[in-house]
């Protein structure tokens, strides 16, 4: 009996409170504040390598073109400027293991040439601007994010690769196959790829 009386009293109070404009306004403000605090972006400063700890982001997902020494194009994921003025390219990859591949090294090395040689593209300074001799591959693995420092190829090596690519496209040289048979297992062209596969 007492329980029923208490319940009806509580329900009465709730209905009275809900019908009060002051309560409704306070409730709405409370929800809005909670939502803003919940969604407030938090800076994650700890997950950067020491070389980038004091660097500033200068470019993200922006096309860069250069015509000298060879016509190249690229879109680095991120480019940071260190306090010394050197630019450092960063490329993000999603993988099961935090392993750097040769293709990452080539991609970052091309970005290095582009950053050095591009005429403007929103980059600070003029062509010939300083670019670090290394870049970073930021690898997102199931166990977390790993940063891998990669010493980059020289401009001459990038030019050599470019010439190799042009020779392959024109059919002057035959393409080689992947060194590791594991790469062939999930290759989208494994049905059309002829003999010469490793393994």
């Amino acid at each position: 009996m007492n329980g029923e009386w208490l319940l009806s009293l509580l329900l009465g109070l709730v209905v009275k409170a809900l019908s009060s404009p002051v309560f409704l306004v306070c409730f709405a403000v409370g929800i809005a504040v909670w939502e803003i605090l919940r969604r407030r972006p938090r800076r994650q400063q700890g997950d950067y390598p020491a070389e980038l700890a004091r660097a500033k982001l200068v470019m993200s997902e922006q096309d860069i073109l250069a015509d000298v020494p060879i016509p190249l194009a690229g879109r680095p994921d991120e480019v940071y400027r260190q306090s010394s003025g050197h630019l450092v390219p960063v490329e993000t990859k999603t993988r099961n293991r935090a392993k750097v591949h040769r293709e990452d090294l080539i991609q970052l090395s091309v970005y290095r040439v582009l950053l050095q040689r591009a005429k403007h593209n929103g980059l600070p300074g003029r062509p010939g601007r300083p670019v670090a001799g290394y870049g970073f591959v930021r690898i997102v693995t199931p166990s977390g994010v790993r940063w891998r420092r990669v010493v980059l190829m020289s401009e001459a090596e990038v030019v050599q690769l470019y010439e190799r690519r042009i020779a392959l496209e024109s059919g002057r040289v035959c393409p080689t196959v992947a060194k590791h048979p594991a790469l062939c297992q999930r290759c989208a062209y494994r049905d059309t790829c002829g003999p010469g596969r490793p393994g």
């Binding site: 972006p41 800076r43 994650q44 400063q45 950067y48 700890a53 004091r54 660097a55 500033k56 982001l57 200068v58 470019m59 993200s60 997902e61 922006q62 096309d63 073109l65 000298v68 060879i70 016509p71 190249l72 194009a73 690229g74 879109r75 680095p76 991120e78 940071y80 306090s83 993000t92 999603t94 591949h101 040769r102 293709e103 990452d104 090294l105 080539i106 991609q107 970005y111 593209n121 929103g122 980059l123 600070p124 930021r138 990038v158 690769l161 470019y162 690519r165 042009i166 392959l168 496209e169 393409p175 080689t176 196959v177 992947a178 790469l183 989208a188 062209y189 049905d191 059309t192 790829c193």
Partner: protein, 147 residues
């Protein structure tokens, strides 16, 4: 530059590091047979890419040296270090943040602009259009002595 030389992208050159034969199949547009595992991995990679882009342009992920607040759409259009972006940041810091309505505008802008910036990243046509609009604003700010 030799006129006969073709522009090659960083990813096209990088593909040689994986498998030259695969790179040439792709270059000659041979039909692909992509299995479900690879498709899922590509999708995961693209999602992570977009998430990372939103995080860096919004300042959610930044080294300690990146102290100044971001100007998302301007960063997507001009680049983070461009003088136009700097001018818009100055306008935000010196004019907008000085009054209540300006602060409210900046708060709303910070909510809605990261997805717009991420959307612009993959649409050069829309980026050009926004750039033209922002150019007008930047010019006016310059004429006003501003900021």
């Amino acid at each position: 530059m030799n006129r006969r030389q073709r522009r090659v992208s960083a990813s096209d050159l990088a593909a040689l590091g994986r498998c030259e034969r695969q790179a040439m199949f792709r270059f000659h547009k041979r039909p692909e047979r992509v299995d479900a595992v690879v498709k899922a991995a590509r999708k995961r990679g693209e999602a992570e890419h977009d998430r990372r882009y939103r995080d860096v342009v919004s300042g959610r992920s930044a080294p300690a040296g990146h102290r100044r607040g971001p100007c998302f759409i301007a960063t997507a259009v001009y680049g983070g270090d461009a003088w136009q972006t700097e001018r818009l940041r100055d306008w935000r810091d010196r004019s907008l943040l000085e009054c209540l309505w300006g602060r409210a505008f900046v708060a709303v802008y910070y909510r809605v602009s990261p997805p717009i910036a991420a959307w612009l990243a993959h649409r050069p046509g829309a980026t050009r259009l926004v750039r033209r609009l922002l150019d007008g604003l930047v010019r006016r700010l310059g004429q006003g002595g501003g900021a």
